[in-house]
Amino acid sequence: MLTTQLLYALAGCVIVALGLRGALLHPSLLQRVMAINVMGAGVFMLLIAVAYRGPGLAPDPVPHALVLTGIVVAVSATALALALARRLHAQQDDD
C-alpha cells in the first residue's frame, strides 16, 4: 500500500462528507448544487487514488476514463439543476 494513495483516498473521504453535509444542510439552492459537485469531486479523488500505482508506473486507465465521464455528466446535471432552480425562482416571484 502506498502512502500517497492512502493520503489522497482519505482526503477524498473527507471531501465526500463535507459535500454531503453541505447538500443536506445549506439553505441556498445554488450552494446545494455546488455541495453535490464537491461531493462528486471527493468520489473522483477516491477513484484516481485507487488508480495510482506509484511514481514511474503507469496508472490504471479504467478509473481515469470513469472520472472523465463523470466530470462531463456532472456538468450537464449541474446545468439542468441550475435551469430548474431558475424556473423555480421565477415561479415563486410570480406568486
Binding site: M1, T4, L6, L7, Y8, A9, L10, A11, C13, V14, I15, V16, A17, L18, G19, R21, L25, H26, S28, L30, Q31, M34, N37, V38, A41, G42, F44, M45, L46, I48, A49, V50, A51, Y52, A58, P59, D60, P61, V62, H64, A65, V67, L68, T69, I71, V72, V73, A74, V75, S76, A77, T78, A79, L80, L82, A83, A85, R86, R87, H89
Partner: protein, 333 residues
C-alpha cells in the same frame, strides 16, 4: 525530488483542497462561494496531475473549474446580494432554532460516520494485493484499438457503449434545459479592451480544440477536452455581448446537438449489419472511425455546454420566431 519533500507537497495540496471545499460551503455569500469553488476545481486539477492523470486534469480544469464555474457564477449573479449581517431579520423562536441545531449536529455526525466507513472500506481494499487484470488486458489489446492513449482507447473503443450513453445523457440534459424556457438575456456589448482580447482568444481556443482532438489519439486530450475548449470560445463570445455566438439555428442546431449520439449509433448499426459486434470496430478502420466519432462528439459536447450556459432555448431570429415570441406573450395563443 525525494520522498519527504513530495510528502510535504502532497500534504499542502490536500490541505488546500479540503480547506477550499470547506470554505466554499461554509460561507453564506453565494458569489464568494462560487469563486472559492472554482479555485477548488483548479487546485484539484493540480492533484490529478500529481496522481499521473493528465487527461482528467485537463477535463477538470476546463469543465470542472471553468465551465461549471461560469454556469454557477452566472446563476449567482442573477440572485440578489445577501443583506449585510446587521440588517438580517432576528432568528425565529427558540423552539425551531433548537431543532435546527440538533439536526445540524445529527447530520454532521452522520456525515463523519460515512467518511469513517468509507475510509475503513478503502483501507480494506488497499490492504489486499491488487489483481491488475484489467490494466493488463488493456495494454495487451491497445495495439488493436486504433489509438495509443489508453484512456481514449477505453472511452471510444473498449467501453464505447458507456461513452455513447454518456452523450445520450448530455443530450437529455440539454433537452430538459430547453423545456424550461428561453435563454438568459445576453450581456452588454464589451468595451474595446475586452473586445480586442476576444478577437485573439476565440481563434486560439478553436485552434486548441482542434489540437486536443487530434492529439487525443496518442497523448492526453480527446473529444471532451476539445469540446470544452470550443464551448469556452462560445462562453467568451457570449460574455462579450455577442448574441450570435457561432451556434446554428433551427434544424441545424438540433442536428449538431444530436451529431455525437447519431454518428455513434450509425457506426454501431452499420457494423452490426456487416456482421461485427455493436461498436466492434475492425482494427484496420478503428483509428479513422474513432476520429470521426470524436469529431461529432466534440461538436455535440461543445453545443450542449454552450446551450447549458445560455440556460434555455436560444432566441431565434426571423419572421416565424417573431410570431412565436408574440404568441408566448399572449396567454393560450
Amino acid at each position: 525530488m525525494n520522498t519527504a519533500s513530495l510528502l510535504v507537497f502532497d500534504g499542502l495540496l490536500l490541505l488546500s483542497i479540503v480547506g477550499l471545499a470547506w470554505a466554499s460551503l461554509a460561507t453564506t455569500d453565494v458569489r464568494r462561494s462560487v469563486i472559492l469553488f472554482m479555485a477548488f476545481g483548479l487546485v484539484l486539477a493540480v492533484a490529478w496531475g500529481r496522481l499521473l492523470a493528465p487527461d482528467v486534469a485537463l477535463a477538470e480544469a476546463a469543465i470542472g473549474a471553468g465551465l461549471s464555474g461560469a454556469l454557477l457564477l452566472a446563476a449567482a449573479l442573477r440572485q440578489p446580494r445577501p443583506l449585510p449581517p446587521e440588517s438580517t431579520p432576528p432568528p425565529r423562536n427558540h423552539g425551531t432554532a433548537g431543532v435546527g441545531v440538533v439536526l445540524r449536529w445529527a447530520v454532521t455526525l452522520l456525515c463523519t460516520a460515512l467518511a469513517g466507513t468509507l475510509a475503513w472500506a478503502l483501507l480494506h481494499v488497499f490492504s489486499s494485493t491488487p489483481h491488475d487484470m484489467l490494466p493488463g488486458a488493456i495494454s495487451a489489446n491497445l495495439a488493436a484499438s486504433g489509438v495509443s492513449n489508453p484512456v481514449t482507447a477505453l472511452l471510444l473503443n473498449f467501453r464505447a457503449y458507456d461513452t455513447l450513453l454518456e452523450l445520450a445523457v448530455l443530450l437529455t440534459a440539454v433537452l430538459g434545459i430547453f423545456t424550461l424556457g428561453q435563454a438568459n438575456p445576453g450581456y452588454q456589448p464589451a468595451g474595446p479592451v475586452f473586445d480586442g482580447l476576444v478577437r485573439w482568444l476565440v481563434p486560439v481556443l478553436i485552434l486548441t480544440a482542434g489540437y486536443l482532438l487530434w492529439v487525443g489519439a496518442h497523448a492526453p486530450g480527446g473529444a471532451f477536452q476539445a469540446g470544452a475548449m470550443l464551448a469556452a470560445a462560445g462562453v467568451v463570445l457570449r460574455l462579450a455581448g455577442q448574441s450570435r455566438i457561432g451556434l446554428p439555428q433551427g434544424f441545424m442546431l438540433r442536428l449538431v446537438m444530436a451529431a455525437g449520439v447519431g454518428l455513434f449509433l450509425l457506426v454501431g448499426f452499420t457494423l452490426l449489419i456487416l456482421g461485427r459486434p455493436f461498436l466492434g470496430y475492425p482494427p484496420a478502420w478503428a483509428g479513422t472511425l474513432i476520429l470521426m466519432i470524436e469529431t461529432a462528439a466534440m461538436l455535440s459536447i461543445a453545443t450542449t455546454l454552450v446551450l447549458a450556459f445560455l440556460g434555455g432555448r436560444p432566441e431565434a431570429t426571423g419572421v416565424k420566431a417573431a410570431a412565436n415570441r408574440q404568441c408566448e406573450q399572449i396567454p393560450r395563443c
